[in-house]
Symmetry: C2
Subunit: 153 residues, 2 copies
């Protein structure tokens, strides 16, 4: 009798909390909570911060671009942008010559706010990164990417 091993079933445990999905959600929720708390002191929400960060690196992104980049719908992104404009952190033309996409840019105030908030956020990410063996970091990043792609329709 030698079936090589009890052959851990494809879905190993009956304990949901052992599943990848659960762990993923848990880690993600923890990050979200930590960022939320940290950003509150800078009067920013997580989606707002995410938009600022993307705009800092790629000025001129459109609403739809930002929606894709922050993993929400165009409609949700639109609301975020309205808030950021209201706060004077971004500019957005009412019209454009070419196409429909309206390019968004950070104002000086926007850059300022982002730069101060960033230190708080980076401190959080540092806590995360330092907690895992440096050796595995790149593998972790790759695996997260791989999973995301495997699910992308």
């Amino acid at each position: 009798m030698d079936t090589p091993a009890p052959a851990l079933p494809p879905h190993p445990t009956e304990d949901v909390t052992e599943h990848v999905g659960y762990r993923l959600k848990r880690a993600s929720a923890a990050l979200r909570t930590a960022m939320d708390k940290a950003l509150r002191e800078h009067d920013l929400t997580v989606p707002q911060y995410s938009c600022l960060e993307l705009l800092d690196q790629q000025p001129g992104l459109s609403n739809a671009d930002l929606a894709r980049g922050t993993f929400v719908t165009r409609q949700s992104a639109n609301v975020v942008l309205r808030g950021l404009k209201e706060a004077g952190l971004i500019t957005r033309p009412a019209t454009t010559d070419q196409g429909r996409a309206l390019p968004v840019h950070l104002t000086p105030a926007g850059k300022q706010r982002l730069h101060t908030a960033r230190t708080a956020v980076y401190a959080i990410e540092e806590r995360m990164v330092n907690a895992i063996p440096g050796k595995r970091l790149t593998a972790l990043l790759k695996d997260l990417d791989t999973m995301a792609e495997a699910l992308g329709e």
Copy 2:
């Protein structure tokens, strides 16, 4: 002149999309979307499914327990439970002898619904798991856990 290397900075890239937080969010969002789509055919939302799954493994959990287990507030969990009760998938006493916590249980219909929906969800998780080198799965699970703990105050 021989600084040993460009000495990859503690926060390696200026590209946000390379950060762990971004990848985490991306993977989590992809999973959420996939589950949402799959569960819709079973008339369940992701939080509803999560509650059913937890209750199947640990009958008698309270609303607060489920809130912690699904990473939402007590108030949100309460709304979810109301929906599940409305749909006849769970039972929840109006009062209790001991304490305030009201134990929730699955109805036969609840178990039934869970079992059919589960196959759809497991198929998704399978896509995820199969995409990553089996060797790294346990390390990945551990790292996700480690990160969550590192952030939990």
